[in-house]
Amino acid sequence: MSVLSAPRFVGQRIRRVEDPRFLTGRGRYVADHEPVGTLHVAFLRSPHAHARITRLDPGPAERAAGVVAVLTGQELEAAQIRYAGFAGQPIAPLAVDEVLYVGHPIAAVVAHSRRQAEDAVELIAVDYEPLPAVVDPLAALAEGAPLANSRAASNVCFHLEHQPAEIDQLFQEADLIVRETFRTHRQTAVPMEPRGILATWEPVAGMLTVIGSSQWAHGLRDGLAAALHLSQSKVRVVVPDVGGGFGVKYGIYPEDVAVAYLATRLGRAVKWVSDRIEAMISDFHARDGIHMAEAAFRKDGTYLAIRDRMVSPAGAFMLDGSAAVLETVIGSLVLPGPYKVQAVGFTIDGVLTNTTPLGTYRGVWGPAATWVQEGLLERAAEKLGLDRVQMRLQNMVRKEDFPYHSPTGVVYDPGSYQESLKLAAERIGYADFAREKAEAARQGRLIGLGIAAFIEPTSLGAWQPEPPTVPYESAVVRMEPSGEVLVQVSVNSHGQGHETTIAQLVADVLGVDFSAVAVRFGDTAAAPFGGGTFGSRSITVGGGAALEAATKLREKVLAIASHLLEAAVEDLEIGDGAVAVKGVPARRVTLGEIGRVAYWIPGKMPPGMEMGLEASSRYVPPPMTFSNGCHAVVVEVDPDTGRVKVLRYVVVEDCGTMVNPNIVEGQIVGGVAQGVGAVFLEEMGYSDDGQPWATTLMDYHLPLASDVPTVECLHLETPSSTPGGMKGMGESAMVAAPAALIGAVEDALSPYGVRFQRLPLTPERVWQAIQAASQPK
């Protein structure tokens, strides 16, 4: 039940409070911090996908100008410095005797300037004995395949399987079985600010302070404390402004551990800021999954069951938060998407490969699973001769089905599945599109319409009995003696605008002006523990905690006011920075007066009440809160070049209560742009021997202003049961856009009967698909 009645700020398109500093060049990112005497680090990285190191001689580098130290894997191993990967498995920050991917860090040079450190890296003498590189995950699964890591018993690093008893029966009874292999390509998130870390060490006291570009301050603190054998109370992580994350700055990296260790060893401020080339090979990669899927249908279009065999190339290590686990396991929970089925079966294999480790990138499971979900349905509609919108509507979870218990075990809270599909179809002009397409065809143009209805499982709480992610978020709300409000939250912002949206929530609960609320986060010395920012949950869970804490604080404020005004709490109202007796506006006390009493005058406080005005909350949300919506898009394909142009794009989004529609739409439009990048432009490819193809932004094509469509955003609001009624939505556009765009291209190419199994849809791939399809039917 929403605690927000008659909100003044929630729902408003308020300009962000963080913007002036960014607009005037006063944002402060990690690279902008430089204490006097800071030393700089550059890493030596493996040029081989897989090799044994037969000799490593740091001597020439140690003697180079400006160099203070060279750190090797041997030294870290001797000091037992490791960080925790998946299921706590230890990972060595620097390779010791075997390199496992191009970019694998081997040594770190510390010098007085970054330039000197980079120069000296070139002087480290290393000899390699190349080993067979494992790149293709299916080949890696084959009998007798070479091992990606000579210490591993097998290339299979993760396996999970669930085939419900009834699923074979459903497939036997089906009138139609659609089978397809969907293969996403490798991408990486590419936040515009590269990763970076600055570590300082106070000797004797033994205190490590780290400024890091991270989505999760407490996670970095605890990860570093464990790796360096320090107590958590002796490590402080401060996350300053962060220039984008998109999942890739969640968790701990080898460079974090190496740089922090160097600070402790040298007793100096030590800093590393990634350059873009090393970012492309050392930031987590993402996607790159194989889905061998099949779905069973009845003649009338009824969707019966889905089975998916997923293979994910985890890269050289299984990270904590490996996409080999998250892409597939979360995908398996929501494979049917907004549609009802009777059974879901899956088999998952995570496979070690000699490529950069897979981690999280916006949407994680979503772009692939939604493509599988919508791709199978489109193929079925075509085979059964049914209308694709009707067939979707027919199978969708309806209003009366909520809360809907999916056969996968998850529960969908209320949403607007059919409504959002209908609205998107209407707005994009679906009813008239056959005519439009025929008209275009007469002019020799190929146009197509794509649809992706989506659900997004957001705001994770205790989604497993012992969840691998922090199942709550925290907030401390403090009213200062002046009556102004300071909020500390456990979620971080790297562009989401928490300083604005969380202030909107708290201002409404406490009846103060929006400008009287300051929101802070990112410093483990001040912010309460929590899970940081991931999985589209900051506003629901972090905002939920802020709402709960503010509500508790309001109760205390009202109790003090009741005492001061000698009136019952029920007769009081809070607003405009004061508490007044309802209907008697003259009998009022300002929040500043309440603050003065609460902090300075025990004798005027209600008997027995603690001094001060502060409340905290740890809000545990439901296991999952589902936002939903629908993307609809019309594209034109140039058959001579294979180029695709987006003609119009509609998004219907239902994320429950919208705190600030500007920010919601910013997330949608930004997500659609990333979807355009995913489908048409970006590819982190590898050669067969494990050499990455795209190590600069010249090779890895991010969407530009001239590549992206104008997106029309429409909103439906089905509130959730969380304190403010919000649902997460930061990833939803990335969940839906790829499937919608791929569907649109396939529809445009329907005269050729083209269906795609691989991404990205580069002009070359589209053109070749057209050529391969014999003749227009």
Binding site: R15, D19, L23, A189, M192, G495, Q674, M698
Partner: protein, 166 residues
């Protein structure tokens, strides 16, 4: 190392003279950030693609990661810190970016603003297509550009109303 390693350069940044000794191999971006102390100019790629480091050198947009500091000797340089007409004031472009939610993480923003400034110098009333083309040398990973393009449109209108002040 061949030849001289360091040289003294002098230029004007945001109206103030600056003089100092730099390594001849140092980029203008590094000198602005490290020696001049203006960290609003950001480095997103250091290989000339992302545009985050864009500053104006003698009125022209330049990728300061690709220009050597010694090449800027004697130049007039404008960075994002010098865009606003005065303390506690914003340039119409900054105001329009704020109004249109044209930034999220803010990392690309300084480069976007400087490129947009140069665009509006050359085309005070740009078409949407011109804005998209001009901004295509600046990468934003967050916004999807739509709001940035709208902000530049609004700024153009405002600045025309203010007599073309830039």
């Amino acid at each position: 190392m061949n030849g001289e390693a360091e040289r003294t350069v002098a230029f004007t940044v945001n109206g103030s003279p600056w003089r100092g000794t730099v390594e001849v191999r140092q980029s203008l971006a590094d000198v602005l950030r490290e020696a001049v102390g203006l960290t609003g100019t950001h480095l997103g790629c250091e290989h000339g693609v992302c545009g985050a480091c864009t500053v104006l050198v003698d009125g022209r947009p330049v990728r300061s990661c690709l220009m050597l500091a010694v090449q800027a000797d004697g130049a007039q340089i404008l960075t994002v810190e010098g865009l606003a007409p005065g303390p506690d004031q914003l340039h119409p472009l900054q105001e329009a970016f704020w109004n249109h939610h044209a930034l999220q993480c803010g990392f690309c923003t300084p480069g976007m603003l400087m490129t947009a400034w140069a665009l509006l110098q050359e085309h005070p009333q740009p078409t949407r297509a011109e804005i998209q083309t001009w901004l295509s040398g600046n990468i934003c990973r967050c916004t999807g550009y739509q709001n940035i393009v709208e902000a530049v449109e609004e700024a153009a209108v405002r600045m025309a109303g203010e007599g073309g002040r830039a």
